[in-house]
């Protein structure tokens, strides 16, 4: 009876002590840091392109192949880019569009998405864009991509998988050992 009471006490003490801890890990955000490249700025001699970064509220004049990294958990939360163009001759400002962080784009991805932005103007003269996911070299070289991988973008998950497999093997071994021992007793 004393041990029973002790167990209850231990449980409640652990609750109290580890109130800041976790049982299931909090779910990670789906979005990843995203790096945008602006690929065809030089194709539009009549326009100048600008980007406003929400992280610092600064406006940048876009140059060919400029790149901007958007962080998921920046100082001001999820970062974003506002992009627009200005006609050099008329000084008329186009519509703007917003670029944000995006979900992982590859089954085996890094911690950052790489996306190239290609501008175009539609028939109504509205600024538009196409986005192309840039893949790491290994994808374009047709390298072997395993169907099942223990590797996860978030670090630490590999060791979790190994721990689980190891524990399963020990349990399986113990189970089989017990079964064999049981069989020998009957023989």
């Amino acid at each position: 009876m004393q041990i029973n009471k002790l167990s209850v006490l231990v449980v409640f003490l652990l609750f109290r002590l580890f109130a800041s801890a976790d049982i299931a890990l909090p779910k990670q955000k789906n979005q990843l840091d995203t790096k945008y490249y602006f690929a065809n700025v030089d194709s539009f001699a009549t326009h100048t392109f600008y980007v406003k970064k929400s992280a610092n509220d600064k406006t940048y004049k876009l140059k060919q192949d400029a790149a901007f990294l958007l962080k998921v958990n920046g100082a001001k939360g999820d970062e974003r880019l506002e992009v627009w163009a200005v006609n050099k001759s008329s000084q008329q400002k186009s519509n703007s569009f917003i670029l944000t962080t995006v979900k992982p784009t590859e089954p085996i991805s890094s911690s950052t998405n790489y996306i190239a932005i290609t501008f175009y103007f539609d028939k109504a003269g509205k600024l538009n864009y196409k986005q192309t996911v840039l893949k790491p070299d290994c994808y374009s070289k047709k390298q072997f991509i395993p169907v099942f991988s223990l590797k996860h973008p978030a670090s630490g998950f590999n060791s979790l998988s190994l721990l689980s497999i190891f524990s399963f093997l020990v349990l399986l071994s113990a189970f089989l050992f017990a079964k064999m021992k049981q069989r020998n007793v009957y023989v």
């Binding site: 041990i3 029973n4 167990s7 209850v8 231990v10 449980v11 652990l14 609750f15 580890f18 109130a19 800041s20 801890a21 976790d22 049982i23 299931a24 890990l25 909090p26 779910k27 990670q28 996860h152 978030a154 630490g156 998950f157 979790l160 998988s161 721990l163 689980s164 190891f166 524990s167 399963f168 020990v170 349990l171 113990a174 189970f175 017990a178």
Partner: protein, 102 residues
């Protein structure tokens, strides 16, 4: 990361001994292995899929019940009850601490 696993084990083991106190060292060994087997799987699945947490926890409850039934030689109904209590406590503690929306 592993401190969370340690906390889960530290909470689930005393709960088991509320129901049964035979072969303490062996029981601790099996319960540690059971948690080392299921905890990484549930966290991997929870992080990488859209399967609801309670469905994942139900799966873990059944797996741990079978482990208790086979290794710790409890009746299956009792094993299921022990596992259910253990996982209900740790799940809802986790939900409460992390403000997880169900």
């Amino acid at each position: 990361m592993f401190k969370y696993l340690a906390l889960t084990i530290a909470i689930e083991i005393p709960i088991y001994f509320l129901f049964d106190r035979k072969r303490i060292v062996f029981s601790v060994f099996i319960l540690v292995l059971a948690n080392c087997f299921t905890w990484p799987i549930i966290n991997l699945l929870y992080q990488t899929t859209n399967i609801h947490l309670l469905i994942l926890e139900s799966g873990v409850t059944i797996v741990e019940a079978f482990i208790i039934y086979w290794f710790l030689e409890q009746k299956f109904s009792k094993a299921l009850l022990i596992s259910l209590v253990q996982n209900a406590v740790t799940t809802f503690l986790g939900i409460w601490i992390n403000n997880i929306r169900l």
